[in-house]
């Protein structure tokens, strides 16, 4: 028990005084501090336009913060090689190459086993040879989820990944994801505007409106 709490104290991902703006535009994020500990699933909620997606892009290394830094296990994010932080996007149809057959997309980083595919209800015979424009958003999102669950993944950032899915698909995908996360001890940052979802899947909920000093200026 004590060992577990000690392990849980280890910081996985940390945003240190992160500020961001495009060019010399208005600040989108200001002085954001966020620590995510091992074994945590953090829900990041906030109204739209508060910079949830921007923060997720900064945390996963897609965007460089204008000020401050992002630390992964105490060091800057690795620039090359497989990134231990992987993202699942809001729009799966944008996240897969429209000119790739789906089996290529699925196997881009690793080859998921049949068990995972079955859990995600990915129909191998029917979907593997298809093009992305022939599948629905929910079907594509299953591929996007399977794609990032490779053995080298240690942390998942899900940016509104189930917002546009129907309730059944949402439940299926989240069940699989939570199952894998528990088994492998994956860290998770769930960005959503649905409090209900955050309460259901996360161990801690953070409100970006409180973290982001932009809202506190006036």
């Amino acid at each position: 028990m004590t060992e577990e709490t000690a392990a849980a104290k280890r910081v996985l991902l940390e945003a240190k005084d992160v500020s961001f703006r495009y060019g010399s535009g208005p600040w989108i994020l200001r002085n954001v501090y966020l620590k995510i500990y091992e074994g945590e699933r953090v829900g990041l909620v906030g109204p739209s336009g508060y910079g949830k997606s921007t923060l997720s892009r900064i945390l996963s290394g897609y965007e460089k913060p204008t000020k401050g830094q992002v630390l992964w296990k105490g060091a800057p994010l690795p620039k090359e090689g497989y990134c231990p932080l992987q993202m699942i996007y809001q729009h799966p149809e944008k996240a897969v190459n429209p000119r790739w057959r789906l089996q290529d997309t699925l196997n881009e980083a690793w080859t998921p086993d049949d068990e995972l595919l079955a859990a995600l209800r990915i129909n191998k015979e029917l979907w593997f040879r298809r093009w992305p424009n022939e599948l629905s958003g929910g079907e594509l999102q299953r591929f996007c989820v399977a794609r990032v669950l490779g053995p080298q993944t240690e942390f998942i950032i899900a940016d509104e990944m189930s917002t546009m899915l129907d309730a059944i698909t949402q439940a299926q995908i989240w069940n699989v994801l939570l199952d894998v996360a528990r088994k492998r001890g994956l860290g998770m940052l769930v960005i959503t505007h649905s409090m209900a979802l955050a309460e259901k899947v996360c161990t801690r909920i953070v409100d970006l409106a409180e973290l982001n000093m932009v809202g506190h200026d006036a």
Partner: protein, 283 residues
């Protein structure tokens, strides 16, 4: 009971096999003409003053010119020369454009800047002058024309390719691939190239008539192919002198043949694009 005929034919039951059929026929025609021209016995279009200036007839389908040469044979021979020059020049040009465009879009900012300078340099000089200079420098003939076309014509397509690559760089699947540890080169080849192929094919197809026209125009000006070589450009520029005397077939029939070849080539291009486009995979 009446059966509704749904199928247009056994082998042509959907758009895809129709497309393949069209491409095959067009390719076969082009190859046939090229081979016929390249292997043709020069006797077939030899000078024969006993039959000069004859209008099209069963014996001479395209008529004969002022030296009694059979125009059908000269046209086929000329078309094959033109196809050969046009094809080679447009393929090398588009591959060069693709390569430079991908390189400029992938390596980094300085490569983009250098690329833009090069494009501006080549587009700043009038094509025809550069073409003439290069053609003379390389001792005229087909080689000079081809290299001239290649050097002056890679810019527009190169720029399109480079712009496409730049926009693909910001797409989520490319960024995701980078986060999966894929190298720049791998991403460029696997993720980006399939998106540029349609532009590449269209560019290649449009380059073909362009190359032939340039070959014709600098030949007309006397800096290209030697006049004794039956090329469409030579035939057309010669025929201009006889047009006012009522000898219409010298210009019309070879001109129409050239048009037909260009149309065939465009047909191949647009159908190939259909074949590789996932959005038409099920048609």
């Amino acid at each position: 009971m009446k059966k509704t005929p749904v199928l247009t034919g056994h082998g042509l039951r959907n758009r895809r096999s129709q497309t393949i059929f069209i491409v095959t026929v067009a390719l076969a025609t082009l190859i046939l003409i090229t081979v016929a021209g390249l292997t043709m016995d020069p006797e077939k279009y030899a000078t024969d003053f006993s039959v000069k200036n004859q209008a099209p007839s069963a014996e001479h389908l395209f008529g004969t010119d002022w030296m009694g040469r059979d125009m059908l044979m000269r046209t086929v021979k000329g078309l094959s020369t033109s196809i050969y020059i046009g094809l080679l020049a447009s393929i090398v040009t588009s591959v060069l454009a693709l390569f430079l465009g991908v390189l400029a879009g992938t390596i980094g900012r300085w490569a983009t800047t250098a690329f833009n300078w090069m494009v501006d340099l080549f587009m700043g000089v009038p094509h025809l002058i550069l073409l003439i200079l290069i053609s003379i420098l390389l001792g005229r003939g087909a080689r000079g024309v081809m290299i001239g076309v290649i050097v002056t014509h890679w810019c527009p397509l190169g720029r399109i390719v480079q712009a496409e690559i730049m926009s693909l760089k910001n797409s989520q699947y490319v960024q995701a691939a980078v986060r999966m540890g894929k190298s720049k080169w791998w991403v460029a080849m696997r993720h980006m190239l399939p998106h540029v192929i349609p532009q590449f094919i269209v560019g290649l197809v449009l380059m073909f008539p362009h190359a032939i026209m340039h070959e014709a125009s600098i030949t007309f000006l006397g800096f290209g192919l030697p006049p004794e070589q039956p090329a469409i450009g030579v035939i057309l520029s010669e025929s201009m002198k006889y047009l006012t005397t009522g000898i219409w077939w010298l210009a019309l029939l070879p001109g129409l043949s050239l048009l037909a070849i260009v149309v065939l080539f465009e047909e191949i291009g647009s159908n190939l694009r259909l074949l590789i486009d996932p959005f038409s995979a099920q048609e």
